[in-house]
Amino acid sequence: MNWLGPEEWRAVALSLQVSVWATLVSLPLGIFVAYALARWSFPGKQLLNGIVLLPLILPPVVTGYLLLLVMGTQGPVGGLLAEFGIVFAFRWTGAALAAGIMAFPLMVRAIRLSFEAVDAKLEQAGATLGAAPTWVFLTVTLPMSLPGIVAGAILAFAKAMGEFGATITFVSNIPGQTRTIPSAIYAFLQVPGGESSAMKLVLVSVAVAMVALLLSEMIGRRVAARVGGRDA
């Protein structure tokens, strides 16, 4: 990777770090929320659904600003967490939080659809065979929704890699801290002679997106064959 300068390289490494964390940390919560939306009926279900989808519809800048208000060191939640030494504002963790929230609706949608596609009759069969609800979930529902979960995670990762508006609003554009690939491209384009650096990062973005897509196709096909009951 000699053709990437140290500053560009830092942006790529940071983007990967931010996206991996954003995806991995939000995945369990995403699975839980998707399952609740797919299988349970409870008061406020539509409200929860709306809140989950909101970042998809709101201007990213608005999401970023709301994050700053709530999670900033002066905000109600951010202030509380700061007492325990957990700070999001203007840190890479904040970039991960912003990316995770922006990617959450896509993740939940994909996982929810795959939960809904699992035949509830199979879950009933599991129950009659002695499996308590948690075991039914772990041995039937979860493995059968694996293609959707993998697809949701990869989709979320790709979205996190490209997140710009909420990130730059919430955690600014600090080299090495919060300057992810999109922020770096933006910054390079602001200075004369930055086009070649920007171009390199554009190529990296395209490559990462392509790899993510191919990977999701490949894993998805393999898992779908297994879950579909065919001998792989």
Binding site: L122, A127, T128, L129, P133, V140, G228, R230
Partner: protein
């Protein structure tokens, strides 16, 4: 012993059923929509009836008066579904052992090797369920239910989704289940021939109510009880294999009457159940002579039932048991059929299909 008493209201009809299922195979027999599946799902805990009490082998599964309702996974039942419901992401072996993961190690259970052998699925163990045929799937489903160490086996129309050839492939396994496994079976069916072959006890249902309970021979040979309609009417005779003849026929003894059927692959001395469809029997007032039919059962007319259509159902008491005969109203008038008259039931040998012949438990 299973005791069931359930009331459940649907928008269009109310199920109100109370029965006991003794050991062996108890068939819930009736048209679709008569409430059979509701009962089985209530026993399994997949449906919450408005009111009821279900006790299986002294364990209370449901008692709405006392607020007891065991969740399905604690009822210890093996449920064989119509569509098999095998787990597609698991191999056949994993499907078979699924229930054992959750059963207590102390509970006595069937030996896995024996069950695999009984069902003839040894060669499928490493396959996934997606590529199995309908009959293979259903055999694995039976094995999976058996190996979960159940105290009661439920089967909801387990053959309805299969073609005739597959049905005759699976039926013997249910016979063996009934005769070789001590667990009682509650079996839902709308097919008279399945019930005739399998049931120890028949619980006949109509529109959410139980109209009759008794042995298969009693209930199926009662012309007043036709849950599957007059076209499906038929009687069940018990007969013992006497000899296999060189011309491809098997000779049976049914209460002293000789019956000849197309070759039955069962040893001499074996007791069989033979279902004879009412529309396959010819009725004669005189001892028939010069007929090609080999089976002539003498008897006395016990009952004559006339329905809406052109058919008349005649119950003939013969030494072999009660025989149902379906003839036209016109024939009945011409023959002047009446209760108490002597008559002969004539059954063509080839009219009895192999699926109508089953073994019977000791």
């Amino acid at each position: 012993m299973l005791e069931v008493s359930i009331r459940h209201a649907y928008p269009d009809f109310t199920l109100d059923a109370r029965f006991e299922a003794p050991p062996g195979l108890t068939a819930l027999f009736g048209r679709s929509g008569s409430g059979k599946t509701t009962i089985v799902n209530a026993v399994a805990g997949l449906l919450r009836p408005d009111a009821g009490r279900i006790v299986s082998e002294d364990r209370v599964l449901l008692n709405t008066d006392r607020g007891i309702r065991l969740p399905p996974h604690r009822r210890r039942l093996g449920y064989i579904f119509q569509e098999g419901r095998l787990f597609p992401h698991l191999t056949v072996r994993q499907n078979l052992h699924y229930g054992a993961w959750f059963a207590s190690r102390r509970t006595p259970r069937e030996d896995a090797g024996k069950v695999v052998e009984l069902l003839g699925i040894g060669h499928l163990l490493d396959r996934r369920s997606g590529g199995l045929s309908g009959g293979e799937k259903q055999r694995v489903a039976i094995g999976r239910a058996l190996l979960s160490a159940p105290r009661l086996i439920l089967a909801d129309e387990p053959l309805a989704a299969l073609d005739e050839a597959r049905k005759s492939e699976i039926l013997p396994y249910f016979e063996r289940l009934r005769d070789e496994v001590a667990v009682p079976i509650l079996y839902v069916s709308h097919s008279a021939s399945e019930v005739a072959r399998l049931a120890t006890t028949v619980v006949a249902m109509e529109a959410g109510r139980i109209i009759r309970r008794g042995s298969a021979a009693e209930v199926l040979s009662d012309p007043a009880i036709l849950p599957a309609g007059a076209r499906e009417a038929g009687s069940v005779l018990t007969a013992t294999v006497v000899a296999h003849h060189a011309d491809g026929l098997t000779e049976l003894d049914a209460g002293g009457v000789r019956l000849f059927l197309p070759r039955v692959e069962q040893p001499v001395g074996r007791k069989l159940r033979v279902r004879i469809a009412a529309h396959d029997v010819i009725l004669s007032r005189l001892q028939p002579e010069g007929l090609s039919a080999l089976n002539i059962l003498p008897g006395v007319v016990e009952d004559v039932r006339q329905g809406q259509g052109p058919g008349v159902l005649v119950a003939l008491a013969t030494p072999a048991g009660r025989l149902l005969v379906r003839i036209t109203r016109r024939s009945a008038a011409q023959l002047e059929i009446g209760v108490g008259q002597r008559a002969y039931g004539v059954v063509k040998t080839v009219a009895v299909a192999p699926t109508d012949i089953g073994v019977t438990g000791s």
